[in-house]
């Protein structure tokens, strides 16, 4: 019996939050290191979410909607900063008034001019920083929208191939070793046979054993996405591959047949 099978009861109880503290801590330690148990936990939570959904029926009262609307109106997510121009209008010069008499007054005027110049420079710097901030915010929003579109399961994904050719299973892995970021897209994958699942593998450049990089099931069109699976730090990749694996049992090393493999950049 594998360690995962032994832990199956504990995982079910953990997903329910029904483990005692000591057992929970022990299992959490194991979960930090075990990809297949984390995957099983996600599946268990998925099953349990369906149990939760069986409660569907009662509608919240209208006052609950109004309460939320009032709360979000009172807490705008992007509060507008006071425009720089408004603050520039209130300069030290107009606030302090014009000094009337003698050398002391002249001295004060000179100090005032110096402060005005400093004030103006600071405002320019502030305006420049605001512009940079707004520009970066806009770029970030664009990036968010791009990623959201790429990952949206409802987005239409059409692959174009040479006329007359039958679409072949394909995948594209985009891997950033420094930050352990991995995005993988697959298309035209054959439907899964019963009790099988696809698994993505990272082949390290140092020739060591392949590293599990996520289990997945394609949608009805054969498309699938894997985003940032848990990976060890600082692994240089030589290649990626997808295999067809038994759904149950360990997923720590490939047991099944390769479906698509990388061809390098």
């Amino acid at each position: 019996m594998s360690v995962h099978e032994q832990l199956a009861e504990e995982l079910a109880l953990y997903a329910l939050g029904a483990l005692d503290d000591a057992e929970r801590q022990k299992l959490e330690k194991h979960l930090e290191e075990c990809v297949s148990c984390r995957r099983e936990l996600e599946l268990l939570r998925g099953d349990l979410s369906l149990l939760a959904l069986t409660t569907a029926g009662p509608q919240p009262p209208a006052r609950a909607r109004q309460r939320l609307i009032s709360a979000i109106a009172a807490e705008p997510r992007l509060p507008a900063a006071a425009p720089a121009s408004e603050r520039q209008q209130r300069s030290w010069w107009t606030a302090s008034g014009w000094p009337a008499l003698g050398w002391a007054a002249v001295g004060l005027v000179l100090v005032g001019i110096g402060l005005l110049w400093q004030n103006s420079t600071l405002h320019q710097n502030l305006a420049s920083l605001r512009a940079q901030f707004a520009d970066q915010g806009s770029k970030l929003e664009q990036a968010n929208q791009t990623v959201a579109t790429l990952l949206d399961p409802e987005a239409m994904k059409i692959e174009l191939v040479a006329v007359g050719n039958k679409p072949q299973p394909r995948g594209k892995a985009i891997y950033q070793r420094r930050n352990r970021n991995l995005i993988f897209f697959a298309s035209n994958l054959p439907p899964l046979p019963a009790e099988k699942i696809y698994e993505l593998w990272l082949f390290p450049a140092n020739g060591r054993a392949p590293i599990a990089a996520g289990l997945f099931k394609p949608d009805a069109r054969g498309s699938a996405t894997v985003v940032n699976p848990p990976l060890p730090a600082d692994v240089e990749a030589k290649n990626f591959a997808v295999t067809l694996e038994p759904e149950s049992g360990s997923h720590e090393s490939p047991r099944g047949t390769p479906v698509i493999v990388g061809v390098g950049e």
Binding site: G17, L53, A56, P60, I72, A73, R77, T225, V227
Partner: protein, 182 residues
């Protein structure tokens, strides 16, 4: 009603993206789509309409403050919200601080739950699976899930051995999965 929602064709991710930009209308559309799920789950656990409304408000305000907590890799929005609603309601029931951050909850559901019709079809299967379970098995599963009891507490309440309770819960979940896979 979701069917009257003018944004019914807008995807969940598109709404989340709009909420990221501070779009209050998108937040209202998301609320209209999923508030009954969150409220029903919280009401089932808490058995108190006021407390269920508090959980509802708390979850949607968290989404408003941090819409990035949900992304497609966390699974289906309906399922994700149902799990978070259940967890928050149990926390409220047991008068404890929330145990997990909404950003840490990942849920994997293979079924399509986007439309009410899809959800209703799957729910019929799940309710059928629950009805088909032996009563002690269903009861152990429901006590753990909807009352937030640990296996020791269930054993104490029912007078059954701890191992039996564990096995029943596991068997209940397995039979649920079997019915869903069919």
């Amino acid at each position: 009603m979701p069917s009257a929602d003018p944004n019914a064709m807008t995807s969940d991710m598109a709404l989340v993206t709009a909420i990221r930009s501070g779009d209050q209308g998108a937040m209202k559309a998301l609320y209209d789509r999923y508030s009954s799920i969150v409220y029903s789950v919280a009401l089932r656990v808490l058995q108190d309409t006021g407390a269920a409304e508090d959980v509802l408000q708390d979850i949607f305000m968290q989404l408003w403050r941090n819409p990035g907590a949900f992304d497609a890799s966390r699974g289906n929005m309906a399922a994700w919200l149902a799990v978070i609603a259940r967890n928050r309601a149990i926390d409220a029931l047991r008068r404890r601080r929330p145990e997990d951050d909404i950003e840490e909850v990942a849920v994997s559901v293979e079924h399509d739950l986007v439309s009410e019709a899809d959800r209703s079809r799957i729910m019929d299967k799940v309710r059928g699976a629950l009805q088909a379970m032996p009563a002690p098995q269903r009861s152990a599963l429901e006590m753990a899930y909807f009352e937030g009891l640990t296996h020791s507490e269930i054993a104490g309440k029912t007078g059954e051995p701890l191992g039996t309770v564990k096995t029943r819960i596991r068997a209940g979940l397995l039979s649920l999965r079997k019915v869903l896979a069919a």
